[in-house]
């Protein structure tokens, strides 16, 4: 299993994400944003959290137009797995791989704390290791995590069971308490909370680990 973690100027969760993939059994390549191609045979791409390009213009906007992102879009279009966490989620919405956008938190504050997440569906490689309806604890750390999409898109996400996680207590004003969503083929997950920061006991909990072992398991079976 081969995971690629994209590194933008300003990424700061790239190494954590790489460690989480490694612990789940993946070989990890770090890929600089100026590269135009992903390494041969990459199974899953991780788009990490941080402040890519200083969050200039809009969070994720410039990263979404970086050379490597064309390859990430192509990987997703071919049915490859992609995980975008925090700034990575913002980047995936900016590329259009995932619908909607992340607005400034409704309370205007940067929120950094562990939050309760309800696993809204177990029907994806990323969430199959969790029981649907169960609650896990994963930290958030963002200023712009207020998920927005128009009413028709929200309706469609719900009808197609593509809401992956919801907040048990909405910290940022997100529509329908959304913390993470899946692509139409269920192989791209974008989420604001950081599962890679809750993936081993030293981090204070392991609720995020099943997300990484889940996608590795799906790849092994493929």
């Amino acid at each position: 299993m081969h995971a690629a973690v994209i590194v933008f100027p300003g990424s700061n969760c790239d190494r954590d994400l790489a460690v989480a993939f490694e612990r789940a059994g993946a070989r990890v390549s770090m890929v600089w944003h100026k590269n135009t191609d992903l390494p041969q045979g990459v199974d899953v791409v991780g788009v990490p959290g941080g402040f890519s390009y200083g969050d200039y213009l809009r969070c994720g906007a410039i990263a979404a137009n970086s050379p490597i992102c064309r390859s990430v879009i192509a990987h997703a279009d071919k049915g490859g797995y992609v995980l975008g966490v925090c700034n990575g989620f913002q980047i995936l919405t900016e590329t259009g791989i995932l619908p909607g956008a992340l607005l400034r938190n409704a309370g205007l504050k940067y929120v950094c704390k562990p939050v309760g997440l309800k696993v809204a569906t177990s029907d994806s490689a990323f969430t199959q290791g969790y029981a649907a309806g169960s609650t896990i604890t994963v930290p958030i750390a963002h200023h712009d995590g207020n998920y927005y999409a128009d009413a028709a898109t929200l309706e469609r996400l719900a009808a197609e069971d593509r809401i992956a996680f919801t907040y048990t207590e909405n910290p940022n004003g997100s529509a329908r308490d959304i913390a993470g969503i899946l692509s139409e083929n269920r192989r791209v997950l974008g989420m604001m909370p950081h599962p890679e920061r809750m993936a081993e006991p030293l981090q204070g909990g392991t609720d995020g680990a099943a997300l990484f072992t889940g996608v590795m398991g799906a790849l092994e079976r493929a």
Binding site: L57, N65, A101, N105, Y148, G173
Partner: protein, 79 residues
Amino acid sequence: MKARVHVMLKSGVLDPQGEAVRHALGSMGFDGVEAVRQGKVIELDLAETDADKAKATVTEMCEKLLANTVIESYSVELA
């Protein structure tokens, strides 16, 4: 040729920053401010001299990068 792009959150999209500014104005004694929307202005210096071409190019820039049309609307002014 210069171009000025105005980017605003679409009406209907909550603007928490505008709301915070409105509250601040109220607490400073500026009564009667019913709504505040905060946007941004982007100024471009272009080598292009043909106004139609410049407008078309800047519009494409807005669609691809300068605005996120999921949440924002934009307008282009040439000078």
